[in-house]
């Protein structure tokens, strides 16, 4: 059965094709197949609706396979290192050396009622090319011990060479410092000083645009045996 063709059939691009011979079906390109399928539903849905449906399906399917679950924080294993290992913390390279407990070492660390001092000796060397405030050690070293005042600004950092309060550590130069924490004397002296060392990155704060040492990231735990000093 032939269907009378009303003139030359036109393809969508406007170019004309040779007229069909009798019985020959038009070549069905992929585009034309899609067009045919679309024609079937074009009275019900528009391309926009189809797009929305496909996007919604994608979101739902992603959720079904766990794409929208909370990402678990990766629990890093913080390695325990030996005393004397240099650790890169950001502002300095820190080497934790020894720990003591004492009731006071005059004249720098004054004995006081109800207080005991936990002392850690460390060597620091400013990384980079500029001096770094030694009390940044407060941001990279945390001591776990009972009886510490969590709200106090500690430790206090002194220079080992002359007992003065540590100011800035110079680059390329190793300075030995003494970090002093105050502990309530009613708390027991722990057998070891457990110190967690964090590293921080120097970046712009998203809050106010200033550069700060942010993102504390634990890199090591050091256990220093505590020697009791009896000197008053």
């Amino acid at each position: 059965m032939t269907h009378p063709t009303p003139g030359t059939p036109e393809t969508p691009s406007g170019a004309t094709r040779a007229p069909l011979a009798e019985g020959e079906a038009p070549e069905s390109t992929p585009l034309e197949r899609v067009k045919k399928a679309y024609d079937l539903v074009s009275d019900v849905v528009s391309p926009k609706t189809i797009g929305i449906v496909v996007a919604a399906l994608a979101i739902i399917v992603a959720g079904l396979v766990g794409g929208w679950d909370t990402v678990e924080a990766v629990d890093k294993d913080v390695p325990t290192v030996e005393a004397g290992t240099p650790l890169a913390t950001g502002p300095f390279e820190v080497t934790l050396l020894r720990a003591y407990s004492t009731d006071g070492i005059k004249p720098a660390i004054y004995p006081a009622q109800g207080k005991r001092y936990l002392v850690v000796v460390a060597a620091i060397k400013a990384s980079g090319t500029e001096p770094q405030w030694a009390n940044q050690l407060r941001d990279v070293i945390t001591l776990s011990a009972p009886g510490l005042d969590q709200k106090a600004i500690q430790p206090t950092v002194y220079r080992l060479s002359d007992g003065k309060i540590a100011g800035q550590a110079q680059p390329s130069m190793t300075t030995e410092v003494v970090c002093v924490w105050e502990q309530r004397s009613s708390a027991p002296i722990p057998p070891t000083a457990q110190l967690r060392v964090d590293q921080r990155s120097w970046r712009q704060s998203t809050l106010d645009g200033s550069f700060k040492r942010l993102d504390p990231d634990p890199i090591a735990v050091v256990d220093l045996p505590i020697t009791q000093l009896d000197r008053p």
Binding site: S161, D162, G167, Q170, P171, S172, T175
Partner: protein, 198 residues
């Protein structure tokens, strides 16, 4: 369905190209911030006075020792204290020279300085009267040769931008002089700031 005609494609390409070219141009042009923040640098040498907006400064002497002190206090370092004798003549109003903000800059770019463990507070320098101060800087001996002093015109304001005017004073320390300075061991007593008579 969107039919991407030749015209549309060409327009898209032109827009992307224009954005890319604009990006490259703005990245290469100097920004207002960079120009506004260019520092005012005055170069000088040991013994040569340099005038900045806050006053006139001259480094007259360089000494070194591992031990420095005042009458009340002593500091010891494993490296070296470089002690600079500086003459300060303020202009306009009394001045505390920027003794904590100054830096000794080594030839490889390392900077040394900051609040020293002992000091005799330098200042206030009265306009028209020259004040002589001794300023210690903790440094490693290998940074001495070819080092220079970067002295800001004033102390850093707590609020506001950092100081942008400073003097770069070549301390004239040759390698031999550096070795000799590094070998000094006599403790240095920091004198109280004194006013130089005319």
């Amino acid at each position: 369905m969107i039919r991407a005609s030749r015209e549309t494609l060409l327009t898209i390409l032109l827009i992307v190209a224009a954005l890319a070219v604009g990006n490259v141009i703005t990245a290469r042009l100097p920004k207002a911030d960079e120009v506004a923040n260019l520092p005012f640098v005055h170069t000088a040498a040991l013994g040569v006075p340099v005038t900045m907006r806050t006053g006139t400064f001259a480094v007259t002497k360089v000494d070194a020792s591992p031990i420095v002190g005042t009458q009340l206090d002593t500091a010891v370092t494993g490296g070296l204290f470089l002690v600079l004798t500086v003459d300060v003549t303020a202009s306009g109003e009394p001045l505390y020279p920027a003794s904590d903000d100054l830096r000794i800059v080594a030839s490889d770019g390392r900077e040394f300085g900051g609040r020293p463990p002992v000091r005799e507070v330098c200042g206030p320098a009265q306009p028209g009267l020259t004040l002589t101060c001794m300023l210690p800087v903790e440094i490693t001996p290998d940074a001495l040769a070819g080092s220079r002093l970067r002295l800001p015109a004033a102390n850093r304001d707590i609020v506001g931008p950092g100081e942008s005017e400073y003097a770069e004073i070549d301390l004239g320390i040759s390698a031999d002089a550096a070795a000799e300075l590094a070998g000094r061991t006599t403790p240095i007593l920091l004198a109280k700031p004194t006013v130089k008579g005319k």
